[in-house]
Amino acid sequence: MTATLAAPATSGGAKTRINDFSIQVATVNGSGSQTANTVLLRAIFQMGVLVSGKNLFPSNIAGLPTWFTIRASAKGYVARKASNEMLILMNPETAKDDIAKADPGALVIYDEPLQLDKLRSDLAYIPVPFQKLVTASCPEPKLHKLVKNMIYVGVAARLLGIDMEEVKKAIAKQLKGKAKAVELNQTACTAGYDWAMENLEDQDHIKVIRDNKTQGLIIVDGNEACALGALFAGVTVVGWYPITPASSLVETFIEYAEEYRKDPKTGKSTVAIVQMEDELASAGVVLSAGWAGARSMTSTAGPGISLMSEFIGMGYYVEAPGVFFNVARTGPSTGLPTRTQQSDVELCAKASHGDTQHINLYPGTMEECFQFSYDAFDLAERFQTPIFVVTDLDLGMQNWSSKPFAYPAKPYDRGKVLNQQQLADMQDWGRYKDVDGDGICYRSLPGTPGGKGAYFTRGSGHNAYAQYSEKPEDYLAVVDRLKRKYETAKTHVPGPVFRNLGSDKGVLAFGSSDPAVIEAQDILAEAGLKTDYLRLRALPFTAEIDAFVKEKKVVYIVEQNRDGQMANLFRETYPEYATKFKSVLHYDGHAIDAKCIVDQITAFEQK
């Protein structure tokens, strides 16, 4: 059959969604589909269309179902969209279920032998003879499984109107110039494209049309952005323990360190990276290296923070610096380790026993993942305390387009560290004396010569001179000063970002919820409900947040956990406004989408 091909629509017809659709690809993990999906995403990106990708993968190495969604948006909305306009079904195990859940009118590309076309009559079916096409295009049978996925990329490219040259470029980029692999995949992809050209009628449901929205943008994931932040921040000691979704942060850092942290003359390393036996040991390494004057970090997820908690409390109380990345996932316990959530908010705010309060940074974009990671090391040394950079699987492991990162020109802030000369000049040095009244004391580093400045660090009670003490007044002096120090942090942490439409109704969110909130805000405004949006970027809450809370009639706190953990922190901090805070929640493990926010806020408003 030779298809009659309609010319791709150049302007949006009534029904054609131009550069505005979602595709969901269902495959089996371990089948190499990640490469194919990234190529498809990249090709759309190279067409100048803003695009985001979300990998919904199982906690398994190979053989379980996995879904990848690609969203293109002319308006720049990059949150997950709950509905999909195109499905690519490669997994026989889930195909029936995927069809049952499909949105009416969706295009369904599937492997011909699955015979899905009888299941529903409101979908547009596109059966593809994958096996035949693979056999014809790839001479090596053992590679068939891998290149099969490239064929659907070719078919989709044809149907969407993506330029094959862009697809080929994306393949070369993705496979980093490995010549044989590039050629093999390009051939397979072209086979799919050509087959579609000859055998399929064109469609006008969804189309990609060249735009210029991605000029100069990068594609990156949050873990890589954080790793780069740490690289430029000059981290020198890393103690870590593998855990999804945090491992790739350190693993990417290791790759960059191989290249950029070797002494050019000797080839020796300027960073010590040790995979420890567990998270307890990682925390010990981070805090003691910080205590000894190195810039130190670890990367973990909720279960790791739980294990580290005893140490973190000690770090807070003895005032040892260190950066703790928490890439949150769906918990508790193993939970759904490959799904996203913001459920470690309270854990990271207060990690440990006793009275503890920590500085937390919540990056919401890739640029912030980079910049806040850089800043975290300054904050750790300035405040001599554990600093948390809290992201999640959605930010950490998914592909995001972003402006290239600005060079962090600000010089390192190494905080109040006394050198040999300063110690010699000092009359009455006490490790825990609040000389400046900001709660931050002066410290000395082990190994400083000159015979002054040595002190004893202890988790037990201590006075201003770091001497053992069980006196009530000494204990109070320390913990009340620590509270003062936390107050001082309010003027050092990044303040909020506003998107105000002029309303007395507030929406407050943080981290990976940002794109969904922006989209929801627009949808609500179109329906007549204007809101002012504050994106929180750190703990402690700054003065701008005090003002926002005070001035709004209602504050919808959007977060990705069951218990409204951030709302709890707000109720605790602002008890007089407790009734203003309404929780908008999403916590099923998928990334948050705009619709769920719109629905919940609308329901509150109708009450």
Partner: protein, 351 residues
């Protein structure tokens, strides 16, 4: 003017070491342990050995976990920095700090509870990584600070003061350390200062992890006749291996080594230990032989003390990680922060 004032007899000069420090310069705060606690005798020998080894106090860092034993770093070498951390996690504290500054002289003090129960994981991995530190276990067979429960080194059949009997076999830190590849393993008794002193001096010259299990009776909870770690019991069952002579590098030329009976082990810094084997055929460089000797001794109810095993050639962790020679904590922005051009290059690759 001639004076008839008789010159006062010169007070005997306080001895100083090569750096000009007196022993007083190596002391710490006053101990708050029970009078007669074995841990205090160990503290005294650390002070002596540090003085005699001419340690630069400011380079010394002292780490510990939690326990009576872990309090003792406050009682020696006040010129050095101390870090009394959390229960069982001293090794990770020593790991981080020793990587941050490879010029530090690291002394870790732990208890048998701290290391062989809650901290077993960290003990095992610190030894395996060969971090540069002297790891001292002040081994009394009980939890002193929490008032006398059994620890994991308590011998099977040993009694608590309360009469409770330990039904479980002990873990032996020394054979475990040898198994893990530790290059310097010794056992001492807090009541044998001479031997402890010599071993400590040898330990100060060693570059990697030294595991030093020091039997240290708890006079309050474990010093009764039925205890296998009482002063009396250990004195009766202490079986010293060798006479050790420690020779500092600069003195090597002057030493006469008696032919025949003495073995000299050379450390990477050039220092040497002369070991005179009193125990016929004992070879401290023979790993399996060391294991066998300790086990045989244990079977007889003896504590074999002395340098049990030595292998001075193992590279410590900073060397394994191929770290730059300067301490990492001394590196500044110029060495650590890549250029703007580098960032642009990385950004280009992500486009």
């Amino acid at each position: 003017m001639t004076t008839a004032t008789p010159s006062a007899p010169n007070p005997p000069a306080t001895p100083t070491n090569k750096l000009g420090f007196t022993k007083q310069d190596y002391v710490g705060s006053k101990s708050t342990l029970c009078a007669g606690c074995g841990h205090d005798a160990i503290t005294a020998q650390i002070i002596n050995a540090a003085f005699e080894s001419n340690l630069e106090g400011y380079r010394v860092t002292k780490y510990s976990g939690i326990g009576c034993s872990s309090k003792t770093p406050a009682y020696f070498i006040n010129q050095g920095w101390g870090f009394n951390s959390v229960h069982g996690r001293m090794p990770s504290i020593a790991t981080g700090a020793s990587l941050a500054n490879r010029n530090l002289i690291n002394i870790g003090i732990s208890g048998d509870g701290d290391s062989m129960s809650i901290g077993m994981g960290q003990f095992v991995h610190a030894v395996r990584r060969n971090i540069p530190m002297i790891y001292i276990i002040e081994d009394n067979g009980v939890y002193g600070l929490t008032k006398g429960q059994f620890s994991a080194t308590a011998d099977k059949g040993s009694h608590l003061k309360s009469g409770a009997v330990n039904d479980l076999p002990p873990i032996d830190p020394c054979t475990l350390a040898i198994e893990l590849g530790c290059g310097f393993v010794a056992r001492c008794f807090s009541g044998n200062p001479k031997q402890l002193n010599t071993i400590l001096k040898a330990a100060f010259a060693y570059e990697g992890t030294v595991v030093l299990d020091i039997i240290s009776p708890c006079v309050t909870f474990n010093n009764h006749d039925a205890s296998t770690r009482s002063y009396k019991h250990v004195k009766d069952h202490d079986f010293p291996l060798h006479d050790l002579g420690f020779i500092q590098y600069s003195e090597v030329e002057d030493v006469e080594i008696p032919a025949g009976q003495t073995e000299i082990v050379t450390f990477p810094d050039g220092s040497k230990v002369a070991i005179k084997a009193t125990h016929e055929g004992y070879d401290p460089t023979d790993r399996f032989g060391a294991m066998k000797a300790v086990h045989e001794s244990m079977a007889k109810g003896e504590f074999l003390t002395g340098l049990l095993y030595i292998n001075p050639t193992q590279p410590p962790l900073p060397q394994v990680l191929n770290l730059v020679d300067e301490p990492l904590n001394s590196l500044g922005e110029a060495q650590l922060k890549p250029s703007e051009a580098t960032l642009n290059e990385i950004m280009q690759a992500l486009m």
